[in-house]
C-alpha cells in the first residue's frame, strides 16, 4: 500500500479473501445483488461455478454447480434483470446459457467453436442499451462469433479467417457502440497483436491495427453509448487507450499508450459509474487504478483537412500488490461504486473496496 491514508488518493481496501479449491478463471457480480459468481476448473478437469454471498467480512457459499467441461469465461451482459441468466464459454468451445436457479439443463446450448472459448461478452441485457440481446465469443480457433439466444445453432455473425490464412488465436472480445437498436460494434484482440473492429450493422471490418504484442483484454468504456474510448492491454506490460470518436481514413483512431507493469496486463475493467476510471490487473499480482484525462480538443484537422482524433493522457491513481500470481479476472459491481472482485491464479478470490472515488 502506498501513500498515507490521510491523503486524498483512492485507497484499495481488501475486504474479504477466500481460498478456493480450484483454479478460477473468471468472476462476475450477479447484477442487483451482493452475490458473486466464480467460474473455473477443478483439478479433476471438470468445470465449477460457485455462487457466493457477501456476509460481513466473509463470503458464504450459496451454491456450487459442476459441469463436465472447465469453464473459462462468463457474462450476464445479454440477459434481463429479472432472469439473470449466465452465459458461459468453456474449454471445449461450447456456449451455454444457464438459469442459476435450475442449473441442470442449460437454457441455450451450442457447440460454437472447435477450440476453447477464450472470451465472452454480452450486450442488450440488464436494462442497459437498446437492441437485441447478443453474445459474442472469441476462440482459439481464430473465429469470433455473435449469437442471439433466440436463434439456435447458428451464429448471427461470424468473423473467421480467409481460407488458407493461418489462424491466430482470438484472446478477447468486447461489444460497443450499442446506442440504438441497429448500431453495434465488436472489437476483437488476437495473440499476434491485431485489434479488429467489426461493424455489425454493415457487417464489415471497420478498422484494424496491430500493437505488436498479443492483446490480452479489450474493453469499451461504455457499451451502450456512441463509442468513446477503447482500452486494449497486451503482453509486456503495455496498454493503449484509443479515442474512438474520430476515425481518420488512413490513420484510424488516435491512441495513447502506457507501459505500466513489467509483466502481462491480464484485464482491464472500467468503473461502471465513471467511464474515465479503469483498473488494470497484472501478471505480477498487482492492480493499477488509472484515470483518463481528455485533451483540450478531441479532434483536429490534419494537413489534408480530414478530421483526426487527439488522444488524451492517463494518470495512475493508485496501485496495490495483492498476490504473487497473476490476477486473471476482475469485475466491478454495477450496483455499489468501488466494490470489485478479483481472482488470481493462487486460487483465491478477493473482494476489494476502492474508496474516495467520489472525489475524483
Amino acid at each position: 500500500m502506498s501513500a498515507a491514508v490521510g491523503s486524498e488518493r483512492p485507497q484499495v481496501v481488501l475486504h474479504v479473501q477466500q481460498a478456493l479449491s480450484y483454479t478460477m478463471f473468471d468472476c462476475k457480480w450477479v447484477p442487483r445483488s451482493a452475490r458473486l459468481l466464480c467460474l473455473g476448473s477443478a483439478a479433476r478437469g471438470t468445470g465449477i461455478a460457485q455462487l457466493y454471498e457477501l456476509h460481513g467480512a466473509r463470503l458464504e457459499l450459496l451454491r456450487e454447480i459442476e459441469k463436465p467441461k472447465p469453464i473459462k469465461c462468463g457474462t450476464f451482459g445479454a440477459t434481463s434483470l429479472q432472469q439473470r441468466y449466465l452465459a458461459t464459454g468453456d474449454f471445449a468451445g461450447n456456449l451455454n446459457i444457464w438459469n442459476l436457479e435450475a442449473p441442470e439443463i442449460p437454457v441455450y446450448s451450442v457447440k460454437g467453436h472447435k477450440e476453447i472459448i477464450n472470451s465472452i461478452d454480452g450486450v442488450g441485457g440488464l436494462g442497459i442499451g437498446e437492441g437485441a440481446p447478443e453474445i459474442v465469443t472469441g476462440s482459439r480457433d481464430g473465429t469470433v462469433k455473435v449469437w442471439d439466444p433466440r436463434q439456435k445453432d447458428t451464429p448471427v455473425a461470424n468473423m473467421e479467417p480467409v481460407e488458407g490464412e493461418s489462424k491466430r488465436d482470438c484472446w478477447t472480445v468486447a461489444f460497443g457502440n450499442a446506442y440504438n437498436q441497429e448500431e453495434r460494434v465488436v472489437c476483437a484482440g488476437y495473440d499476434n497483436g491485431d485489434i479488429k473492429l467489426f461493424d455489425l450493422k454493415s457487417m464489415s471490418l471497420r478498422w484494424e491495427t496491430n500493437i505488436k504484442n498479443g492483446v490480452c483484454s479489450v474493453e469499451f468504456d461504455r457499451k451502450d453509448i456512441n463509442m468513446n474510448k477503447l482500452v486494449a492491454t497486451s503482453l509486456e506490460g503495455k496498454f493503449h487507450v484509443f479515442d474512438m470518436r474520430t476515425q481518420h481514413p488512413t490513420k484510424g483512431f488516435a491512441s495513447v499508450s502506457e507501459k505500466a507493469q513489467k509483466s502481462t496486463i491480464w484485464q482491464v475493467r472500467h468503473l461502471p459509474q465513471n467511464r474515465d476510471i479503469f483498473m488494470t490487473s497484472g501478471g505480477s499480482g498487482s492492480l493499477h487504478l488509472w484515470k483518463y484525462e481528455y485533451p483540450a480538443q478531441r479532434s483536429k484537422k490534419d494537413s489534408e483537412g480530414s478530421e483526426m482524433g487527439v488522444a488524451g493522457s492517463v494518470s495512475l491513481l493508485q496501485n496495490v500488490t495483492l498476490s504473487t500470481q497473476p490476477i486473471s479476472s476482475l469485475d466491478w459491481s454495477p450496483d455499489k461504486k468501488g466494490l470489485c472482485v478479483c481472482g488470481a491464479f493462487d486460487q483465491t478470490v478477493r473482494v476489494l473496496i476502492v474508496t474516495k472515488l467520489n472525489k475524483i
Partner: protein
C-alpha cells in the same frame, strides 16, 4: 632528585583538615595532585610534596583548590577525631612504600569503577532513548492502523446497508410479482385472447409459454414488462460472415513462437553483406560507376544467362564476387552457369560456397537453399558421384517436400544407384 616542599601549614577541626601548601612559583594542575585514603602527594617536577596522613580521609569528597601560588586542601576525616599531627610520625621506608603502592592501587581501582559506572549509565541512557523512539513510532503506526480500520469498518457498514437494501428490494420485487400474478391473471387471459385474435395465432396449445410472455399492463417490476420489451426487440440479425486477414509479418510467426535469434542473424548478415565492398580500386578505376555495383552486375549476369551467354554471365558474376564476396546469390547463379558450361567441379564449389553463406537456415532463404542443393546434386550426378548427388537431392526434399521435380529426379538417381550396384 626532587625538591621537597616543606613549608606547608595546616589546621584542623573535628571533621576536616585544612592544609595549605605554597608552591614555590610552580604551576599546579589537577593532574599533579594524587590523593588516596591515607596518602597525599603533589608532584610538580622538580617539586615534590608527600604526606602519609595520620588517619584515613574520605578522598572522594575532599577538595583541593589551586590558586594564588598555593594549593589549599580540604580533607574530610573518615572518623571525626582530632589528629595529633598531620602525618604519621614513625613512618619507616617500608611502610611508606607499602602505603604508597596501596594508595596507587586503590586509586586505580576507583578509576576503573568510575569508568564502569559511567559506561553503565551511558548504556542505560541509550536504552531509554531507544525505547522512547520506539514508543513514538509505535504510536504513529497505531494511529495509521486505526485510521485504516475505521475506514474499513465504515466501508463494511455501508456494504451491509447496501446489501440489505438489495435483499429488501428483491423481496419486494418477488412479492410484487406474486401479487401482480394473482391480480392480473384474469385480465391477462382476456387480453391474451384479444391479442391472439389480433395477431392471428390460433394455436392455444402454446398457451403455457405464452401465458408467461403476454403483455403486462403496468408495473415496471413485474416480469411481464420484460416481455414488453421483448415484443419491441428487433428480430435476430440475419446471419452473415465477415472474412478477416491477419497482419503479415516479415517472419510469419508470433513473437512467442519465432526463432527470432536466427532470423535476426540472417537479416543482419544480409545487411552486412550488402555493405561490404572489398576490392582493390586500382584495377577497377576504369570501370563505370554502375559496373562497380554488385547488384547491377548480378542483374547483368542473370540477363546473359537467360540469353544463353554463359561465359559472359560468369564474367559478370566473377566481377561481382570480387567486389563483394558475401552475397550467396552470386555464387548460386554462377553455379548454374558452370553447370551449363559443364564445369562441374566449379559448379560444386560454388554451390557449396553459396550454402555456406546461407546459414542460419530460416524460412526466408528456403528457396535459395533448395536451388543450391539441386544444382550441387546435379553436378555430382553428372560426375557420376551418384550417392553424393542423392544426398543433396534428399536435403532439398527435406526443405521443400512438395516439389515434384525434385522427387522425380531423386527417384531416378536411386534407380541408377541400384542399377550400378546390381551390375557391379
Amino acid at each position: 632528585m626532587p625538591v621537597w616542599l616543606r613549608e606547608h601549614s595546616w589546621r584542623q577541626s573535628l571533621a576536616a583538615v585544612y592544609l595549605s601548601l605554597p608552591l614555590r612559583g610552580a604551576r599546579a594542575t589537577p593532574a599533579n595532585i594524587f590523593c588516596g585514603e591515607q596518602y597525599l602527594k603533589v608532584s610538580i617536577p622538580p617539586f615534590l610534596f608527600e604526606a602519609i596522613l595520620y588517619a584515613p580521609i574520605d578522598d572522594t569528597n575532599s577538595t583541593a583548590k589551586i590558586g594564588n601560588g598555593s594549593i589549599f586542601f580540604t580533607l574530610y576525616k573518615k572518623e571525626p577525631a582530632m589528629w595529633d599531627s598531620l602525618t604519621l610520625a614513625n613512618a619507616d621506608k617500608e611502610k611508606l612504600q607499602y602505603l604508597r603502592e596501596n594508595a596507587v592501587l586503590k586509586a586505580q581501582e576507583k578509576a576503573k569503577e568510575e569508568t564502569e559506572a559511567k559506561k553503565i549509565t551511558k548504556q542505560e541512557h541509550k536504552k531509554y532513548a531507544l525505547e522512547a523512539t520506539m514508543k513514538l513510532e509505535e504510536a504513529e503506526r497505531k494511529r495509521i492502523e486505526d485510521l485504516k480500520e475505521k475506514e474499513r469498518q465504515k466501508v463494511a457498514k455501508e456494504l451491509e446497508l447496501w446489501k440489505n437494501q438489495q435483499k429488501d428490494a428483491d423481496k419486494y420485487k418477488s412479492i410484487q410479482k406474486r401479487g401482480e400474478l394473482h391480480q392480473e391473471i384474469e385480465p391477462i387471459k382476456e387480453r391474451k385472447k384479444e391479442k391472439m385474435n389480433k395477431t392471428g395465432i390460433s394455436n392455444e396449445g402454446i398457451s403455457k409459454t405464452r401465458l408467461k410472455s403476454t403483455k403486462g399492463c403496468h408495473g415496471s417490476c413485474s416480469m411481464f414488462s420484460q416481455n414488453l420489451k421483448e415484443e419491441q426487440l428487433p428480430a435476430p440479425r440475419s446471419a452473415a460472415t465477415i472474412k478477416v486477414n491477419f497482419t503479415p509479418r516479415v517472419f510469419p510467426t508470433a513473437l512467442r513462437e519465432s526463432r527470432v535469434a536466427e532470423e535476426e542473424e540472417w537479416l543482419h548478415k544480409q545487411a552486412e553483406a550488402r555493405r561490404i565492398i572489398n576490392s582493390d580500386l586500382s584495377e577497377l578505376e576504369d570501370l563505370k560507376e554502375e559496373e562497380k555495383n554488385p547488384d547491377w552486375l548480378k542483374d547483368k549476369g542473370n540477363k546473359m544467362f537467360a540469353m544463353g551467354n554463359y561465359l559472359g554471365a560468369v564474367n559478370a558474376y566473377n566481377l561481382a564476387v570480387r567486389l563483394n564476396n558475401k552475397l550467396p546469390l552470386l555464387y548460386l547463379n554462377r553455379a548454374a552457369c558452370h553447370l551449363k558450361l559443364r564445369n562441374l567441379h566449379k559448379a560444386i564449389e560454388d554451390s557449396s560456397k553459396a550454402l555456406e553463406l546461407l546459414t542460419p537456415p530460416v524460412p526466408d532463404n528456403e528457396n535459395a537453399r533448395v536451388k543450391a542443393h539441386v544444382r550441387r546434386g546435379t553436378a555430382f550426378c553428372q560426375l557420376e558421384l551418384y550417392t553424393e548427388g542423392l544426398q543433396d537431392y534428399e536435403a532439398a526434399l527435406k526443405i521443400s517436400p512438395k516439389n515434384e521435380n525434385i522427387e522425380k529426379d531423386a527417384e531416378k538417381i536411386r534407380h541408377l544407384i541400384q542399377g550400378t550396384m546390381q551390375s557391379s
